[in-house]
Symmetry: C2
Subunit: 491 residues, 2 copies
């Protein structure tokens, strides 16, 4: 969930000072258009970890726009009057009317998340609370509201540093109370619970936009630009409720993508590789022959750039297994029969029963990768797919599957090198097609799509493992190790 | 939920024999169009109580249409292979491709309902299972599928009679096993659980259509016509996924409406009335002064035809209470301020806190009554309102409200009499407006809308009470009694 928000995003002072005046002007203009249109209201939620700059952000938004048409609601603990009413009453009271922007600093998410972190409610009750929130937000969207949900994130280290900095400054010291340090102790729990909340409630109608909170300039500009872009898009359509719902979040304005920040220098010597390969293949073989394995199924998913070495990695895993015990499912374009069904149907066909070991060479993630990038499905279709995929994978996991997902990443230069090599080597020649060259042209789009995919579909029990695959030896061993350890965890 | 499906619906043999050939021909034609269009599949679920004719219905549908393009799936207990896969796997396998009709006799609802009836799962797990089903069905709809869900209902008496009749006939005896009689013993539980299932999963995308199962002719024709109408409507739009989703169910083909089958002869003498009025007003007064009442709030909702006596009944309740302890909220057209908000906002404003007693003279049900009938909102808007209202009322009840809902019904003749009387009596004159006469012209539409409303929003903890109000004395006492007994139940 938070992978892309721990990359150390930042904006230079120069860029900020150049771009903010333009952004402010455009925001003011859009706000005026919103008032004149009067067909919908904008509901902005600012949530996130303590110390990530929520209150400063609210303050900046009020400075940047016309505060007369913004209603800011700081929702802290409920008053006695509020407690005597149904829980949602105080939020209904605070809804902005059409034509206005309502900023909620603390929201309907706060209480369920805090209650779950403190173990005051159980997982099913928490999930139920999230479903109620989805109903509520869907209803608001159906009634025309534009909902923008921002989650300000800090890594554990960054949160600690920030709290300390705030404490040192006499002007801000008052803001760091014991409650903040208590929260900090619960960082890991809070991260886990809020990750689940965000995953469950990132609907096509109102997806979460996760913003790294470390650098104030980056934070303000990201939020400001996302508000502006969503508002303009809606106003362009005359303010009517769009069929395809919310627009996706803008790509990071500092151009720092998850896939760009990998350490591709990691490598392994041939000798070390051969030793490790032998070790982990043996290990995997033993695990699969364990009696416990009968009650389990393993599903491996391989995605990655063309020529990143998926095939080679898959062969090294297969090499550890009895050919009767595994199946490799290569996913290409759907057949006519498959096209006549909902897109997940062709994967359900191959879902293993208990005791099976299935390797998907490409997968259902095609929906949010190639289909998104090439425009084979509409924006609304791939936006809803994240949630459908999460639902799908939850069913697999609940049935006792170990689901292990790999993204094999290489650099653009490395890909070119491999393409050229393959063209030279005749027996690999068939592997380079027109399509590969076309995909390569869309490299940047794939980087964005892949970042969104990893952020939105890394659930606690089905996390993505990103493989730095410029060095094949390193990549294959990292994959084998991960397969072994994940299966052992599920046992 | 099942109010309208216990009226003894039936179709004469003559009408059936006249209309079925036409219906069959049209169904065949629509089926052919579906194949040629090939843009969507039709998924027909046939659920309901044992003995309501599910299997005969499936047989008839196969006779009426071209069975080569129908896939019938009888989903009984899972096979060993199915148990080794995730629960939904068997349904995915059975999905019809685009261009075809898939009939599911037993479906993804069967297991959660049976498990809940047998107490194998708890309420939160059951609710969660229903949410999962909603996700699944929404996904199918988003993928283009047309889902038609029919629930065949029998009253307890009718189910018993039918099981006995089947048992007597040697040709059908085999179908009544001990399992059926065991189920029958659980009738009340089954009714309660399935009522909750149907309420939770009647979404705007795939609402349930409840069909009384007693008369086979009525049952077949109702289902056949609903399939035909939904199919034709979708094909008219070129087969594309509609924005406003599923069409509402057709009104009962025998024209037997809930409100038409009330017993309006019930009455009460003035003397008896005065005695009872005194008795129940005293009782209500005592209840409200009880200390326990501090933790409770009471919400009364009055809906009904114009001149049905809502005002008079409300005054008799108010007469029992200390004026400082209650509020009457008359609901008229929304103000400008209210129009700028989601439609439920203006009711949330008046939601009482604990210890309050609030009487709504008309209510949020205007959305599915006047707004539906007059076309003030779109079909999609009032279709989704049932669920939104159920969500809303669940929040009130969870907060400790006793929610008591009355529909005051009079006959069309009685209304005319009262209108004319009011026009004569000068001090009541102001009460008859142009609007009243216009509403009267839409009488039949209100009857349909009201029947749908009662069927779809009578939850276990917020049932509707229908008041036969041709006799005012009888009506007022029935209301007072009900108010007292519901509050006592919630205590």
């Amino acid at each position: 969930m938070f992978e892309s928000a721990e990359l150390g995003h930042s904006i230079s002072k120069a860029q900020y000072e150049k771009e903010v005046p333009i952004l402010r002007e455009e925001l003011l203009e859009a706000q005026l258009d919103l008032r004149q249109c009067g067909k919908f209201q904008v509901i902005v939620l600012i949530g996130g970890v303590d110390g990530a700059g929520k209150s400063e952000t609210v303050k900046i938004l009020n400075e940047w726009m016309d505060p007369r048409y913004i209603e800011t609601n700081a929702m802290s603990a409920s008053s006695e009057e509020e407690l005597a009413h149904p829980a949602m009453w105080r939020f209904w009271r605070a809804l902005p009317p059409r034509g206005k922007i309502g900023i909620f600093f603390g929201s309907w998410y706060t209480e369920p998340i805090i209650n779950r972190v403190n173990r005051r409610i159980k997982v099913p009750d928490f999930d139920q609370a999230m479903e109620q929130i989805i109903h509520f937000e869907n209803m608001l969207c159906d009634e025309g509201a534009l909902i923008l949900k921002f989650w300000l994130h800090l890594s554990k280290e960054a949160q600690k540093n920030r709290l300390k900095t705030l404490e040192k400054d006499p002007d801000t010291r008052w803001r760091v109370t014991e409650a903040e340090w208590e929260h900090f102790k619960l960082y890991d729990k809070f991260r886990k619970v809020s990750s689940r909340a965000l995953t469950l409630t990132s609907t096509a109608e109102a997806p979460w936009i996760i913003v790294e909170g470390t650098d104030p300039r980056f934070r303000y500009m990201t939020i400001g630009r996302n508000i502006l872009s969503a508002l303009k898009k809606r106003l362009e359509g005359g303010g009517h409720r769009p069929v395809s719902q919310a627009p996706p979040a803008l790509p990071p304005i500092d151009n720092k993508f998850l896939l760009k920040s990998l350490d591709f220098s990691q490598s392994m010597s041939k000798k070390a590789y051969e030793k490790e390969l032998d070790k982990y293949q043996r290990k995997l073989n033993l695990i699969v022959r364990n009696r416990k394995f009968k009650k389990l199924s393993v599903i491996l998913v391989f995605e990655g750039f063309d020529a990143a070495g998926k095939g080679g990695a898959i062969r090294r895993i297969a090499g550890a297994l009895d050919p009767r015990t595994y199946r490799i499912i290569p996913i290409a374009a759907p057949t006519e029969e498959e096209k006549a069904q909902p897109y997940l149907w062709r994967f359900w066909r191959h879902i293993p029963k208990k005791g099976d070991f299935t390797i998907f060479d490409r997968s259902w993630y095609g929906r949010v990768l190639v289909e998104r990038v090439e425009g084979y499905c509409s924006e609304a279709d791939w936006m809803r797919a994240y949630r459908e995929i999460n639902d799908f994978e939850e069913q697999l996991i609940r049935n006792g599957s170990a689901l292990i997902k790999f993204w094999l990443s290489i650099t653009k230069e490395e890909q070119l090198k491999r393409f050229k090599e393959r063209e030279k080597t005749s027996f690999k020649h068939f592997k380079i097609t027109e399509e590969d060259w076309r995909n390569r042209k869309n490299w940047d789009k794939y980087e964005i799509a892949c970042g969104d995919m990893i952020d939105r579909t890394s659930m606690e029990l089905s996390p993505w493992t990103i493989i730095e695959a410029n060095d094949k030896y390193f990549a294959r061993i990292k994959i084998l190790k991960q397969v072994c350890s994940r299966i052992e965890e599920v046992f």
